[in-house]
Symmetry: C2
Subunit: 351 residues, 2 copies
């Protein structure tokens, strides 16, 4: 167990104190009333009192640290008294400040006990308050249970968490409403209408394990970082075995708190795809049935939603008058953030 | 500290055993090799061994429980031997099963120690594995640090977390890839182009505290559960003091991992708004400057992005040829999920 969150190397400030070389990786100095006590653990010695705590006293002369510390007690006491004042500033968690005057602290390597963390966090929050820090962010791995329970007592909350990592935050300004932005609010689902111009048919599926047995367009959730067009092509292929090429967005839907979205909202984007293959090879696990259905049939199919009917009508209109009448087209542009690109979707227009 | 996660009332199965009435709120029976030991704590008595653990033995005849348990040792031993077999099923965490064969366990009221939780979770996972449970979900409050550190050892991960609550999960089927859906992947930002038909001007702002000093359309992130149209009207009013009425969506942009999105993606929707008031009353905290700018000026304004130029062109086209040429219109529909509604956006089309 190393405590390398704070690096206040006491070797340099103390030098060698007789047979004891002090090499403190962590030091909390909230007072000068020093009562030394502790117990031996291999080469490492921990000294605690109500007002003074430091860790990792390395005794490198072969003496038992336990013995040595008693021998040199009076000398250490004087020196600690002096240096404790100098070191007060190091008593807080170290972090990086962002441009909104927030402090970010990585707790990954922190292994303080519940008591020690409570003291350090208290001292840190006092210092940050004086510095007019607006928000404190703690990056905490799942395994560090102590950090969660201690932070909770100080009013920290989850901002978000995923996999092994959580981000906790505390809004410091009690006079002002929190300006912490909420974490992602929407899942994005994409479905693909693979339209055959020749037969005026579209690819439809019935899902397995769903409460409603309805014909729908194959589709699913976007992976993190996946473009809308890519999700449409991937999901149609995974569910039906049909290869397609993305053409345009035809419609999108915003729905709040649908089942399965963990209390978030859903943006469901319906794309128009050009089929490149026609043979059906449905996914055994997800798909109950799969077929090419005429759009005329689909627009009044009983086992389909009103939205599916409307989409069939929209595509039939496109087949009659040209898809430029219904398409929302997209192209890639460079972001103002260096190296980033984005896709912008709008109706094609002339000059 | 009460242990009311499992309610296996031993009073009924044991009845009264001489002077001892057993009232176990929690029982873990993984074996029948009973070695009774423990220490007295007020009226409650805890008995532990490697293979047997139960809690809260209430001695209600006025005798010291410590004394009573020794007196009746042999009798209890026989009865425990018998009932431990019957009670094995109660040894696991209780939860609810969903339609994907996942188990959901609310850990809010669980206050087991690290050691006890480790035992219970181990037994639970073994039982769930036998039952072919596909996924285990733990709902854990921030303050319950122990649950995080113990679950972590069993391979649980964060699915998501917010405020006081986290949801952990474990995919049980090591033979099959996890089918746990990812949590929300997108934040939704909405901006509003408040267009004056008479002067062909649009409302633009410069943000404070931003790396780029550019004219842009007022806007911001959607709150959880807020409709796109509502965000546009709210943000324009908050930032500029101008009241508007939502007309249509003109464009949307998908961008992955922009700064400030916590590693998620951004969907930015640009709406067309009809201004209802014209006086500017910019937000002192967020807005550097704010003005009505001619669209002809904006389409080549140096202090604006290419996307802003394109949007100015799009609206000018709409002013010349009618907004029905550029609008993506929306209307509300009923969802197949009872009581839910959604907005669907697509191009208006005839028959």
């Amino acid at each position: 167990m190393t405590r390398n969150l704070l690096n206040c190397n006491m070797s340099q400030t103390f030098g060698s104190v007789g047979c004891l070389k002090l090499s403190c990786r962590f030091i909390l100095c909230t007072g000068t009333n020093i009562n030394i006590g502790g117990k031996l653990a291999a080469k490492h010695y921990t000294i605690r009192s109500n007002n003074f705590l430091f860790d990792t006293v390395v005794c490198d002369n072969g003496y038992s640290a336990n013995k040595a510390i008693h021998v040199r007690h009076s000398l250490i006491q004087k020196r600690l008294f002096f240096y404790s004042t100098l070191c007060t500033k190091e008593a807080i968690l170290s972090g990086e400040t962002d441009r909104y005057n927030g402090v970010w602290v990585d707790m990954t390597k922190n292994s303080l006990s519940e008591d020690d963390l409570t003291k350090v966090l208290l001292a840190s929050l006092e210092a940050w308050k004086k510095d007019k820090i607006k928000a404190v962010w703690l990056q905490v791995p799942l395994s560090r249970g102590t950090v969660f329970s201690v932070s909770s007592k100080f009013g920290f909350q989850f901002h978000h968490a995923e996999g092994e990592k959580a981000l906790l935050y505390l809004w410091m300004n009690t006079q002002q409403e929190s300006r912490i932005p909420i974490f992602a609010t929407h899942q994005v689902g994409v479905s693909g209408m693979a339209v055959r111009d020749d037969t005026k048919e579209v690819l439809v599926v019935k899902d397995k394990n769903r409460p409603f047995q309805l014909w729908k367009f194959p589709g699913g959730l976007s992976d993190l970082g996946e473009d809308i067009a890519a999700t449409a092509e991937r999901e149609v292929f995974e569910e039906t075995g049909v290869k397609t090429e993305y053409q345009s967005v035809l419609a999108f839907r915003q729905q709040h708190k649908p089942p399965g979205a963990f209390g978030r909202s859903d943006l469901y984007v319906i794309c128009r795809l050009k089929p490149l293959t026609y043979e059906l090879n449905p996914c055994q696990e997800e798909i109950e049935s799969c077929r090419w259905m005429s759009l005329e049939e689909l627009k009044s199919e009983v086992q389909a939603t009103s939205l599916t009917h409307i989409m069939a009508e929209l595509v039939l209109y496109g087949l009659r008058h040209g898809f430029q009448q219904v398409d929302i087209t997209s192209y890639q542009m460079a972001s103002i953030y260096k190296g980033l690109k984005f896709h912008i979707f709008h109706r094609p227009f002339g000059s």
